[in-house]
Symmetry: C2
Subunit: 205 residues, 2 copies
């Protein structure tokens, strides 16, 4: 791994753990085991580093969701199930990154970054919304409040994934082992959210 990627990796972990402001450039350089000045040399500024991190990975996210939504072979409920599966997968593999972007969505200190994350979230939400509206039109789904559905799919995920200590208190046996490491846990999350969405969408009015 090159120096740039090395710095980005260390920074992402620290941003996820402590937040952007609470993380100092010296924290990052220490963890990455490089000189402090390299951060400004490679990324211009601390904020530029965050921007690079987000830009690098964010673009990959939207592609797959669009793919699913535009696949004419799939029924509406199959699309929803696939999107849930895809989101949970990404959450498990890159949960530090997801924590970082939700921080940016919820705070509004850095205007341009906030706009970037806002567009990602609202874009995906609109896609889910239109899938559900299509299902409602076809009378497959009951007349749910489709604008809320994206938040209902990923809100629970955020709640579970972003606090390790809460996760351990709710799901973990002993105090040290994070349930996220158990191979079955991911399937359990997928199953729960899919079950919830299915019964929400297919329920009689």
């Amino acid at each position: 791994m090159g120096t740039k990627e090395h710095i980005m990796d260390a920074a992402m972990r620290l941003f996820a753990e402590k937040g952007f402001e609470a993380t100092t450039v010296r924290d990052i350089s220490t963890l990455a085991d490089v000189n402090v000045a390299l951060i400004n040399y490679h990324f211009g500024s601390k904020e530029g580093l965050l921007q690079t991190i987000i830009e690098t990975r964010a673009k990959l996210m939207q592609v797959r969701i669009k793919e699913i939504s535009e696949n004419t072979q799939l029924s509406e409920i199959e699309k929803i199930n696939l999107i849930i599966e895809h989101y949970v997968e990404k959450f498990f593999t890159h949960h530090a990154f997801h924590k970082v972007i939700i921080f940016e969505l919820f705070s509004s200190s850095r205007e341009s970054l906030h706009q970037d994350t806002l567009n990602i979230f609202s874009g995906n939400s609109k896609i889910v919304e239109s899938i559900i509206n299509s299902g409602i039109k076809k009378k497959i789904f009951s007349e749910v409040d489709s604008a809320f559905c994206f938040s209902s799919m990923i809100g629970p995920m955020h709640h579970i994934m972003h606090s390790k200590t809460l996760r351990i208190k709710l799901f973990g046996g002993d105090k040290e082992t994070d349930p996220i490491l158990e191979p079955l846990f991911k399937q359990r999350v997928i199953k729960h959210i899919q079950h919830m969405m299915k019964n929400h969408l297919l329920a009689e009015k």
Copy 2:
């Protein structure tokens, strides 16, 4: 309102908007229109101010939820519906506060405060879990994954309430008016989450 409450109010708004670290004591003193030194005089430190804010309001939260859970007059589904209603009410009246404590739950910089918020969340989660397990035992509820249910109730709420810009993009007509101000919006949130939980809990297996 006394000076202390005045400072706490200003601080809470800024902490919610920008986060704890990004908010300076001078930001707070300016908004509250008091001298900077008063923050340390009244609260010892910036962190002491946050701690006081959380301690003051957090205790009120748990009381009502315990009340509901221990009321023998209510069925399990009625309890769930009341807890949802109560949570949404609190979210709408004190959403700056809720944003602050979720920040503390998700970050782990300030150990003792993190423990405080962790106990609040896990405590409430365990209460919801036991209500649902009781419903499952009585064969009223299907065998859902009860440990996830609290997160599924309040996760969507967090997602909607903590980003004003996202809320406007998803629900707002024009760019200026926050849907949170529309009197019907609160009812819409309650209805959506209750519908979701009801159909999740009562669904055939």
